[in-house]
């Protein structure tokens, strides 16, 4: 259970996020959507413990503001938008850093094999020996996801749920890998963990999210299930763009939706 009450964040005296309430239960994927600059990433950084905030955030009932880094590291793993390196680490060395902080929750003795297993899950079998810096942006993003998965390999540890915080996890991926990554998130939630993901693709959001938090100018504009939230009015208000939900393109114009995946 993650609960945030009246969270506000200011950076350099400028308010970026104001009075956001946020709840999510284990077993759910919570998607945060909203236009660029609406405060999504800032809010997720506050939730990750990177930024000072006012208000209250608890994870599994414990106050985030008094948690040590190593305690928080056992409760949640964070995937940033992009990670650049200055040193020639191999892919395996990067993924293995996920095991640094604490407890993957894998069976005893399995930790050494986790990097390979995590890489296989993100469809990077055989990439362990490659240099991270030589991979494409999408491959790098999946390497980082494999690292994050190692950190919270077991979605439930000691009977308590753990969480994945994903900041635009599919932004630089092709459609096949978008589906693979979102299925990993769904699987993590079904096995008892929780996922908070910032997403831009509203179709993917509708397909995978159990609950959507719509942010607009630093505030929460709407919350609820995809059916409740994704309406013509809300999209026009928040994204400043007149679109209609559920309308097919006219004539023989092709369209491809992730929901059609078989």
């Amino acid at each position: 259970m993650i609960e945030a009450r009246d969270v506000s964040v200011a950076i350099g005296g400028k308010g970026i996020v104001a009075n956001v309430d946020f709840d999510m239960r284990p077993g759910e994927i919570a998607a945060i959507v909203g236009p660029n600059g609406s405060g999504k990433t800032t809010f997720l950084r506050a939730l990750s413990g990177d930024l000072a905030y006012s208000g209250e955030v608890t994870i599994n009932g414990r106050d985030l503001s008094v948690m040590k880094p190593v305690e928080a590291a056992m409760l949640r793993a964070v995937l940033p938008q992009a990670t650049t390196l200055s040193f020639p680490f191999t892919v395996r060395e990067i993924v293995r850093l996920g095991l640094l902080g604490g407890r993957s929750g894998a069976l005893p003795g399995e930790d050494e094999r986790l990097p390979e297993r995590a890489l296989a899950r993100v469809d990077l079998d055989g990439f362990a020996g490659r240099f991270y810096q030589e991979l494409s942006g999408g491959e790098q993003q999946r390497v980082q996801l494999a690292r994050v998965l190692c950190q919270v390999w077991a979605p439930v540890l000691d009977g308590k749920p753990r969480y994945l915080f994903l900041d635009e996890p599919v932004s630089s991926l092709d459609i096949k890998h978008q589906l693979i990554i979102m299925n990993i998130a769904r699987d993590f939630a079904r096995r008892g963990g929780g996922v908070v993901a910032i997403l831009h693709d509203l179709n993917l959001t509708a397909m995978y999210a159990d609950r959507i938090f719509v942010m607009h100018r630093g505030r929460l504009a709407a919350t609820g299930s995809p059916q409740d939230v994704l309406s013509d009015d809300l999209i026009e208000k928040v994204f400043d763009c007149r679109l209609r939900v559920g309308v097919l393109p006219a004539g023989d114009m092709p369209f491809v939706l992730p929901q059609s995946a078989v």
Partner: protein
């Protein structure tokens, strides 16, 4: 040792599973052996003809009655002149190389070096103050501290610079690396200007002392000097292995290191204090010895990868080996006179560094 490291560099990409820890362990073992050889060679090369066999024999026999492996004169040369010099070389080589590796990890930049953020310049200012003002303004202090005055002043100069730097660059518990690098340049310039004033005030004899000290040398190593700076260096080196995991995480950025459970602020603070202690102590006894801190970690990253759990100990060993090698060159190339060791490391290190950059342009991302 150098040849071995280069030989390893060509095979980096062939590690099929990406796990280079086995190779790193072998490299560290080889470096241990290499250091033992370098120490023995340093003890036995020079004007006296004490051979490696007789030195080892003397050491093995120890105080046993009838131990005549070394003559009394050779024993004096080996134990009272060469051994302190070798010990100092090992300590300083290790300190400079590890400090470089830690700074590079801290700044996430393979070009970072203690010389860069003003630690060396601050330490120099402290040392020059004692050399120039020791007999006049600072006389009460220097007469009280005796030979400890110079190393202590250099150490304090280095630490003071780093602390000022840290205060300037830290806002609300977050240290900005960019601010720190820029502030380091400013502080180094200030320290050099103040040093310049002192040099302007110096008389002829002091100028000669200053020049030799600034060029860097292991000559004049005594057990007393080692006693004054050795513990500082050993303590700083002993703390650094505890930084290795944290520095690895820091390669992914400060926020991500925190997400992985690393107490980032404490890590940075420990690294900064450790580096300024090690560098301050080194500058105090041997002046400016450049390039060890940049070349050694670079070579090792090519051979065994950037994992600090292996990089830090391997840097200590290779740094010690290379400094002994440089010292051997400094002692013999213009014998019976002696070249300052800083000249040797710069002449060998600078072109070598350029060569690495050209050869590995694709792998080293600057």
């Amino acid at each position: 040792m150098v040849d071995q490291s280069i030989a390893g560099a060509g095979t980096v990409a062939t590690a099929s599973d990406g796990d280079r820890s086995g190779r790193a362990r072998i490299a560290i073992l080889a470096l241990c052996l290499g250091l033992a050889v370098a120490v023995l060679l340093s003890l036995t090369s020079g004007a006296s003809d004490a051979s490696a066999v007789s030195v080892v024999g003397d050491w093995l026999l120890g105080a046993a009655p009838g131990n005549e492996a070394l003559s009394a004169r050779d024993r004096l040369i080996v134990y009272d002149i060469r051994l302190p010099r070798v010990t100092l070389g090992v300590l300083i080589g290790a300190a400079l190389a590890v400090s470089g590796a830690v700074m590079q990890g801290l700044f996430r930049n393979p070009l970072a070096d203690p010389g860069l953020i003003g630690v060396s310049a601050g330490a120099s200012l402290g040392a020059v103050s004692v050399i120039v003002l020791g007999a006049t303004v600072l006389a009460p202090i220097t007469s009280m501290l005796g030979t400890l005055a110079l190393p202590l002043a250099a150490f304090c100069g280095g630490l003071a610079t780093t602390l000022v730097l840290y205060q300037v660059a830290t806002r609300r518990g977050q240290t900005s690396v960019a601010t720190m690098l820029l502030a380091g340049i400013a502080l180094a310039a200030l320290a050099m200007a103040l040093t310049g004033i002192l040099i302007f005030m110096a008389d002829d004899r002091q100028l000669r002392d200053l020049t030799f000290w600034q060029l860097g040398s292991l000559a004049g190593a005594t057990w007393q000097k080692i006693g004054s700076v050795g513990p500082v260096i050993v303590l700083a080196l002993a703390a650094m292995p505890f930084l290795a995991r944290g520095l690895n995480a820091l390669a992914l950025g400060e926020a991500t290191a925190g997400h992985l459970g690393i107490p980032v602020q404490r890590l940075k603070y420990t690294a900064i204090v450790g580096v300024s202690a090690a560098v301050g102590a080194s500058v105090a006894v041997s002046g400016g010895i450049g390039f060890v801190g940049i070349v050694v970690p670079h070579l090792l990253r090519l051979a065994i990868g950037p994992d600090n759990r292996y990089l830090l100990p391997a840097s200590a060993l290779l740094g010690a080996c290379l400094l002994l090698l440089a010292d051997a060159v400094a002692r013999t190339i213009v014998a019976p006179a002696e070249l300052p060791i800083g000249i040797v490391t710069a002449i060998a290190g600078a072109p070598f560094f350029l060569w690495i950059l050209l050869r590995k342009r694709g792998v080293i991302d600057l």
